[in-house]
């Protein structure tokens, strides 16, 4: 089968049964791969009300059709499940090289069901797939776990997914790491593995991915790479990496500072891309990516691939940690223990504000780099009361301490590092994302009318639909100029079957809508498509957007226009005609 491996690996951890199934052909042209396909498989595998951390829950991990080919920036891998952090449907994706390796081993995806009664890891060497004893690595960090599993394969170059102690302890913002510094970062993917007693997956594949017309495929991939990818829209990833956003967001006044009190950081020059470049010892790439946005940095003894923008801001400016070495240490310890740096930075910022305002003493104040590093360890090990408190996440922490006014989350997911009071579109994107506050579904920060509701509604809906298909192809966000015309052309040549941009556009909307339906079945309604109180009520303190709020009236107006644009009803439920149009009337 061209572009696809044609098989899915199914692992039932309760029964310790490993089987393969043919890829569901009838879903391909509706869902394509990765996010879409994983979502469709997941929908089939569980009831929406499933308890995320129970043996009844499933985890679906899928590659995209271009994974393992020369199409650049397509090696990402999506994981779909229900999040223990938000209770919503949740898609997370990771870069690195695991995706292509899984395809070369002969599988488009991996479905994990049940739960093991003893710690195991999954070993995939082509068609030899076994569950191995993970007892020797229990409690160990991701770095040691990956090394252990790779050794178990007996040949260098195996690719790995692993959890650290935070995932084992079911912390709901623990993550799954890969190649040390890359993650299925958000939503508690680590706890999903942990709840199944699955410490990791190691994979080595020696197979191939085929295309219908190789010379033409190479010619067109090379053309689009040269003409479309290697352009100003995208080359920042190569020259600067995501740290470039430190300057960009400060200029726009949307750089969260001091637990989302301000929109600029006066000390930004301590952590911007010039500083990252000065500390850089190598550029690093995911499999198949010529851009190599990863900047491997070293300061003193601290080295890491990164830190990326979200960590620089949420673990830096938002906690008033204006010290790159401390941020690198924070990043590294999170990456090893298996904690999402974004949620963690945000929650620590919240604890700092609660401490400074005298509402509860967590023993940590803004700018306290020493305590902040200690806190990460306490969270991951649940070893202190404050560690256990912060491990609950912002939403539950707010419930415990009556602190909704300083809790920066949507549907339980802590907000990314773009301030909605300086760009209403970002707020709308957070409020309507299927997984809570997320910047990877729509990213309207460059919209010319940051407070113009009509233009923003338009952009948010279009981006969400487009990202439905983009993440199903596993195009990285940093091919910003990729479109469905190029995608359709490459699919056509690769598959040897005509694919149109119009059907891909429709698939994007279908994927978005199916995610929404899952959340509706879980009781997430109008009231949950919301923003944190601070965004709605408290004026932003500094920068070009000082004094701004995204008040309830404007927000309600934006949300209502968003539903209308989607042809959903006033409660945000897709109308029957829309479901029928998307082929989802059976849902």
């Amino acid at each position: 089968m061209n572009l696809y491996a044609g098989k899915v690996l199914v692992v039932d951890l309760t029964k310790r049964e490993i089987t393969t199934e043919p890829l569901r052909q009838e879903w391909i042209r509706d869902y394509w791969g990765s996010w879409g396909m994983a979502l469709r498989y997941y929908w089939e595998a569980v009831a929406p009300q499933v308890d995320p951390l129970s043996a009844d829950n499933a985890i679906v991990i899928m590659t995209g059709p271009f994974s393992g080919t020369l199409v650049p920036l397509t090696s990402r891998l999506s994981l779909v499940s229900k999040s223990p952090h938000t209770g919503t449907i949740f898609t997370s994706n990771v870069g690195g090289a695991f995706g292509p390796e899984l395809k070369y081993a002969g599988y488009d995806g991996l479905i994990i069901k049940g739960a093991s009664d003893a710690p195991v890891y999954l070993k995939i060497v082509d068609d030899q797939v076994t569950l191995e004893d993970a007892t020797p690595i229990m409690g160990k960090g991701i770095f040691a776990t990956e090394k252990f599993m790779e050794k178990g394969v007996g040949e260098a170059g195996a690719k790995t997914l692993a959890i650290g102690p935070a995932g084992e302890k079911l912390i709901t913002y623990s993550m799954i790491g890969s190649e040390s510094y890359r993650q299925f970062g958000r939503g508690g993917t680590g706890a999903l593995f942990g709840s199944k007693n699955l410490k990791g997956v190691v994979c080595k594949g020696s197979g191939a991915v085929t295309v219908a017309d190789m010379p033409k495929f190479i010619e067109r991939v090379t053309h689009h790479k040269t003409e479309n990818l290697f352009t100003e829209d995208n080359l920042w990833a190569n020259t600067d990496g995501t740290a470039v956003l430190v300057d960009v967001t400060n200029e726009l006044g949307i750089h969260p500072t001091r637990n989302y009190s301000g929109g600029i950081n006066e000390h930004k020059n301590i952590v911007n891309s010039d500083v990252i470049k000065a500390a850089k010892i190598a550029d690093r790439a995911c499999a198949g990516c010529p851009l190599a946005c990863g900047k491997f940095t070293k300061i003193g003894d601290a080295e890491i691939e990164g830190p990326e923008y979200e960590t620089l801001c949420l673990g830096g400016s938002n906690c008033e940690i204006n010290d790159l070495e401390a941020i690198i240490k924070f990043n590294r310890v999170c990456d090893d223990l298996g904690i999402d740096t974004m949620s963690c930075g945000s929650i620590i910022g919240m604890a700092m504000e609660l401490t400074e305002s005298g509402r509860h003493d967590f023993g940590i104040r803004f700018g306290d780099g020493e305590e902040y590093l200690k806190l990460v360890e306490e969270i991951a090990s649940l070893s202190t009361e404050r560690g256990r408190d912060l491990a609950m996440g912002a939403k539950k922490l707010a419930e415990k301490y009556h602190a909704a006014d300083v809790s920066m989350e949507v549907k339980g997911l802590e907000m990314p590092a773009y301030e909605p009071r300086g760009n209403y579109g970002m707020g709308l994107a957070y409020a309507t994302s299927e997984r809570g506050a997320c910047h990877l579904r729509a990213f309207p920060i460059f919209n010319e009318t940051p407070f113009g509701i009509d233009a923003l509604v338009e952009e948010v809906v279009e981006s969400q639909n487009f990202n439905g298909i983009k993440w199903s192809m596993c195009f990285c966000d940093f091919w910003g100029s990729i479109n469905t015309d190029i995608t359709a052309e490459l699919l056509t040549i690769g598959l040897g079957e005509e694919v149109t941009a119009a059907e891909l556009d429709k698939s994007g909307e279908r994927i978005w809508t199916l995610s929404k339906m899952f959340n509706l079945y879980n009781g997430f309604g109008l009231a949950d498509d919301s923003l944190p109180e601070k965004i709605l009520k408290n004026p932003l303190k500094n920068g070009p957007n000082a004094g701004k709020t995204f008040d309830s009236k404007d927000f309600t107006e934006a949300l209502s226009r968003y539903y209308k644009k989607r042809d959903w009803d006033e409660q945000g439920e897709p109308r029957a005609a829309k479901l029928a149009e998307l082929g989802l009337d059976h849902i």
Binding site: E146, I218, E303
Partner: protein, 171 residues
């Protein structure tokens, strides 16, 4: 003077596009395992070192071949005549770098794509260069050619080169 392929590990990002295009050009499919170039990746240390065929003078693969299937062509490239290969595997054992292997019972190795290597065109960071020799490039290659393995699988031999270069460049 003919051109040669050189690797600067300092510039390699570990993207592996060289292996993708190599397998596509030579085997008609994407499969790094059967590519004629390999990349030894050490993501934890932010380091990658491609393994290439150095087209050795007195090439051990050439010398080991009992069937006369391996020769040096006019461009000074060591090439395999598939029709003469008897799949004995002696060349695989002889190569100290793990850069000649059996694919479908024929020994395969890097042939510089006939003088215009696809991997070099695909290497955006410029870790792979195809140039006439200079003192710097000769020194670079010399350091890599010192990392010979007498035994082990081709993968083990490449890992040996990669891990020695890792320690030289990063420790």
């Amino acid at each position: 003077m003919s051109k040669q392929l050189y690797v600067d590990p300092n510039e390699c990002t570990g993207c592996n596009r060289c292996t993708y295009v190599c397998s596509a050009v030579h085997e008609g499919k994407f499969s790094p395992t059967i590519a004629r170039i390999k990349v030894n990746n050490y993501p934890h240390k932010g380091f990658s070192a491609p393994s290439i065929c150095f087209q050795c003078p007195n090439a051990p693969c050439h010398q080991a071949c009992p069937a006369g299937a391996i020769s040096r062509n006019a461009d000074d490239v060591v090439v395999v005549d598939a029709d003469k290969c008897i799949a004995c595997g002696d060349c695989v054992e002889a190569c100290p770098y793990g850069m000649i292997e059996m694919v479908a019972d024929i020994a395969v190795k890097c042939d510089y794509c006939g003088g215009d290597p696809a991997c070099v065109k695909e290497c955006y960071p410029g870790a792979l260069v195809f140039e006439e020799k200079t003192p710097e490039l000769t020194k670079l290659m010399g350091m890599q050619m010192k990392q010979r393995s007498k035994e082990g699988s081709p993968a083990d031999k490449r890992e040996h080169l990669g891990s020695v270069l890792l320690s030289l460049y990063r420790d």
